[in-house]
């Protein structure tokens, strides 16, 4: 595990194994160290932000060196969310052709997998889901669309995602869901919270 510098009120924890990122985040949150104000996971790293008046970064580094397991146990049994999807995305046919399969096979490959929300970013409630079939790994579009409709189910690199609201975007669009993914009247407001398991159900 590396602890990388990140200014005067945070450090970046990089577990030796990327599959340990979520477990590391859960472990850090569970410790309830006074002074840690945010624990934010991403693809390979976890940001730990502190209130330096309570917990200076130097103390945080000692704490992490002394206490953090290098390979925390993976937490299992998180909630499963099923999202009904209409596979009618603008890039469905092009993706199938590029990968060398039919659109039906593409829909099967995408909907038969079980995904895990690894982290959120880009916009509120935009979860990066791991578990995409390796055959479907394609880079982002060379030029992003100025607007991707809310509810678009899309793929890029090793991830699949759903756009919670209409934003510009460069992911390849496979379909759409009507489920509202970011709703301020709920707590937490996002459906796709890190750690949640997800299945896409064709309709």
């Amino acid at each position: 595990m590396n602890v990388l510098p990140y200014g005067d009120h945070a450090v970046l924890v990089e577990p030796a194994d990327e599959s340990a990122v979520l477990a590391m985040r859960d472990w850090l949150v569970a410790q309830r160290y006074p002074g840690i104000v945010a624990v934010v996971p991403a693809a390979r790293t976890v940001l730990v932000e502190v209130d330096p008046a309570t917990l200076p970064v130097l103390r945080l580094r000692q704490l992490l060196a002394d206490a953090v397991p290098s390979r925390p146990e993976t937490t299992a049994g998180d909630e499963l969310v099923e999202l009904p999807v209409r596979y009618d995305g603008a890039d469905l046919a092009a993706v199938a052709e590029q990968v060398g399969i039919t659109t039906d096979e593409l829909i099967s490959l995408h909907s038969e997998a079980e995904y895990t929300v690894r982290f959120c970013g880009f916009s509120p409630g935009f979860g990066y889901l791991s578990g995409l079939h390796p055959r479907l790994r394609l880079p982002r579009l060379a030029s992003p669309r100025p607007t991707v409709p809310a509810g678009s189910v899309a793929i890029a690199d090793e991830f699949t995602a759903v756009y919670p609201r209409a934003t510009p975007g460069g992911w390849r669009l496979l379909g759409s869901t009507e489920v509202a993914l970011f709703d301020l009247s709920r707590e937490p407001p996002a459906v796709l919270v890190p750690g949640i398991r997800v299945r896409f159900v064709p309709r």
Binding site: L4, P5, Y6, G7, D8, H9, A10, L12, R25, V37, A38, V39, V40, P41, A42, A43, R44, T45, V46, L47, E49, F119, C120, G121, F122, S123, P124, G125, F126, G127, Y128, R165, F182, L184, P188, P189, A190, V193, P194
Partner: protein, 276 residues
């Protein structure tokens, strides 16, 4: 009630920011120059959680429908009833700010705070995600709240001396992605016109990266200096997304961010390293 008669280039409601939802992709947001925002609140005797109006490059005009105690701080603008001092103005009072004389952002605090509905615990407008109240427009009516914590200050606050010292930078997590990370400190950087609350874009002799491409998405913080393949750095600012894929060469100490909030397009900027 405060009625907006003119907005200038951009005016938003801001407070200390939105905390606790970064893991869901929600930006921190909050006043660009927190020091000036806090000062304006303190002058009118507001709680530190009270919201103010963030004015970008002056140009705001308002009419107050009730007697109110107000204070302005940050980038000085002509046309104000007072600067860095609490002033009680009568019902029907109106004033129009001219362009900022120096700096970029000013804060208008009203005793009681701006009473827009909080979103995820904050009244700040996040320009990237659209969370929080809409950007102020001509005709916007803002209610005045009850977010006070003491009496208005009797004395004006001294004007802070503008600092011309290089901006301090702590080492970032990905200095190993650069041929020579010290290049950041060797050069003078010019603030670009497309800078905003999301990021302050700089131009100068490009930083040389020792690795091409992008990282898998990594957590980002306001003050992180991100370097895209062009080698032209971007200082991520209050409304920056919580993850990004460009390597971070350095990170500003939190206190230096207020200065970033006062930079105008065309301003020259230098950095100086401070040890971790």
């Amino acid at each position: 009630m405060i009625e907006v008669l003119a907005t200038g280039p951009l005016a938003t409601v801001q407070d200390l920011g939105r905390f606790g939802y970064q893991y869901l992709g929600v930006a921190r947001s909050g006043a660009a120059d927190l020091r000036a925002h806090r000062l304006a609140n303190r002058l009118v005797g507001n709680a530190e959680t009270a919201a103010t109006i963030e004015i970008t490059s002056g140009g705001l005009a308002v009419r107050l429908s009730t007697t109110a105690t107000i204070a302005l701080a940050g980038a000085p603008c002509p046309g104000a009833p007072g600067w860095q001092v609490a002033v009680t103005v009568p019902a029907g009072c109106r004033f129009a700010l001219g362009p900022a004389e120096s700096g970029l952002r000013s804060y208008l605090a009203v005793r009681g705070g701006i009473a827009v509905e909080p979103v995820l615990g904050s009244r700040a407008t996040d320009l990237l995600s659209g969370l929080g109240p809409p950007v102020l427009a001509v005709g916007t009516q803002l209610a005045i709240g009850t977010d006070t914590a003491g009496s208005p200050a009797g004395e004006p606050a001294p004007a802070p001396a503008p600092s011309t010292a290089p901006v301090r930078v702590l080492p970032g997590p990905r200095t190993d992605w650069f041929t020579d990370p010290a290049e950041l400190f060797d050069r003078s950087w010019t603030v670009q016109p497309d800078s905003n609350r999301i990021g302050v874009r700089l131009a100068g002799i490009p930083l040389r990266r020792s690795r091409p491409g992008e990282l898998p998405p990594e957590p980002m913080l306001p003050g992180a200096i991100q370097v895209p393949p062009s080698g032209q750095p971007i200082v991520l600012f209050r409304d920056a997304p919580v993850t990004g894929g460009y390597p971070v060469i350095g990170v500003l100490p939190a206190a230096e961010l207020d200065r970033i909030g006062q930079l105008r397009p065309g301003d020259q900027l230098r950095f100086r390293p401070v040890p971790a």
